[in-house]
Amino acid sequence: MIITKKKPYEEVKKALEGRKNVAVIGCGRCATTCETGGEKEVAEIVKLLESDGHKVPYSGLVEAQCDLRLSRLELRRLDGYDAVLSMACGSGASALSDLTDKPVVTSNDTMFLGVVRRHGDYVERCGMCGDCTISDTIGICVKTRCAKGLLNGPCGGSHDGKCEVGGERDCAWALVAERMRKAGRLEELGKRRG
């Protein structure tokens, strides 16, 4: 899941200043799950834009905004807009910008690739490095979850399962050690990686 967070509305409003007619486009995938670009969020922002004097000639969702084949279908039939408000991730906004010469503004900050643990509870789990070694560390990506991205951790700053950077951040390598211990495979921790 690509996790997005809403930008403060004031920032969106500023970016759309002077653009009277705004097409608002949400996304049916990750942004719907994260509640940053689903039907409800689209409707909410349309209300705000209209009360600020904008006209919204079109508002709706693309099933997956980042898929140009789908977004193309949507934008092809739109007309009479001065700007597009993308309520998806950076990838979605970027796709829409390929399809129009009008400015594309995003209402979201794209945070990370992660897992949804509970409603509203998202955690980063993958750094999209293109060279996945997660099988070697029992499902824990140390490149992403270790603050130093160490391949041969833990470092000396790991204490009581927490990372030295503080703020309750778990030490990824302590998590690996814990899982290895549980599986009776702790000696694998000493494998030389990289």
């Binding site: 603050a147 041969n152 700053g157 204490h159 009581d160 503080g166 921790l189």
Partner: protein, 290 residues
């Protein structure tokens, strides 16, 4: 080089430490170094300790040589990618540096430039291996050097770590990577140190970290706020009761060194402002001249 010779001959070695300051006046550093040069076998020079900008360990290590001392050039994985690391090592070699201590390095988040990009292109294990490669005349990509380097590389280990099993696995992995010696985090609990050492290969050269306590406040701070430090209650009590806590701390350091001596290859004394007392500590601990 005196330090590596001593260790490899099985003689008890003593190292000290200098932390370069945030500045450009070498005189300040020399004032501290003069208490250690000719007193200890080698002197660690820290690398932007605690992720805070200081004069570079490479430069200060070279200065130590010019002042008649033997440096242990500390190099962390935090700030430099593999190109810079290897390049600095080659330059260090040209400047006469041979002893290197490799550590991961504190994360920038806890330093005075928290927005600095953490590099960690290599971790300590891979950097130690890389030094092994340089010692065989090739860089990480297999490029040939004009001659073999002659580095004596060490690493850090914490015998008083909470998770001893994991700490031992890490130590063995560093030995396999080519670490020739270890310097440890501060030790106050000699039994813990002994237990840890008994699990390492006999040939492992480990210098126990020693920090003389200066006050009850310092003892409390270190045992509660510094993770990985274990101070037995009776040690803290002794400092708390002492009329002269500073002297009590120095006496404790001497005692710890005496007790540790049969179980270690040396001690690494981090005097933290008490460098002028290192000579006395060494002689009172019965460690005779260099």
């Amino acid at each position: 080089m005196n330090f590596s010779d001593k260790l490899m001959r099985g003689e008890f070695a003593v190292t000290g430490e200098i932390t370069p300051h945030k500045g450009v006046n070498p005189g300040r550093i020399r004032e501290v170094a003069k208490h250690l040069i000719g007193v200890v076998d080698a002197i660690n020079v820290t690398d932007n300790q605690r992720s805070s900008v200081k004069a570079s360990s490479l430069a200060v290590s070279r200065l130590l040589i010019e002042w008649g001392g033997e440096p242990i050039y500390q190099l962390t994985c935090r700030d430099r990618n593999r190109i810079a690391l290897q390049s600095d090592l080659l330059g260090a070699h040209m400047l006469g540096l041979r002893n290197v201590l490799i550590i991961s390095g504190d994360h920038p988040a806890i330093g005075d430039h928290p927005d600095a990009k953490p590099v960690y292109d290599l971790d300590s294990v891979r950097l130690i291996e890389t030094i092994g490669g340089l010692n065989q005349g090739r860089d990480m990509s297999g490029g040939r050097l004009d001659e073999n380097c002659d580095f004596f590389a060490g690493a850090a280990v914490n015998p008083c770590a909470h998770d001893q099993e994991v700490e031992l696995i890490k130590a063995r992995r560093k030995i396999a990577a080519g670490a020739m010696f270890f310097q440890t985090q501060v030790v106050y609990d000699v039994d813990m140190f002994k237990a840890f050492m008994s699990q390492l290969p006999k040939e492992a050269k480990v210098l126990a970290g020693i920090i003389p306590l200066k006050s009850e406040k310092m003892a409390d701070f270190m045992s509660t706020k510094m993770p990985g430090v274990s101070i037995p209650a009776d040690v803290i009590a002794e400092i708390a009761k002492a009329k002269d806590p500073c002297k009590a701390g120095l006496d404790q350091a001497v005692r710890i060194i005496r007790e540790i001596r049969p179980h270690a290859s040396g001690v690494h004394i981090m005097a933290l402002g008490l460098e002028e007392h290192v000579k006395t500590i060494i002689s009172e601990a019965g460690l005779h001249g260099l």
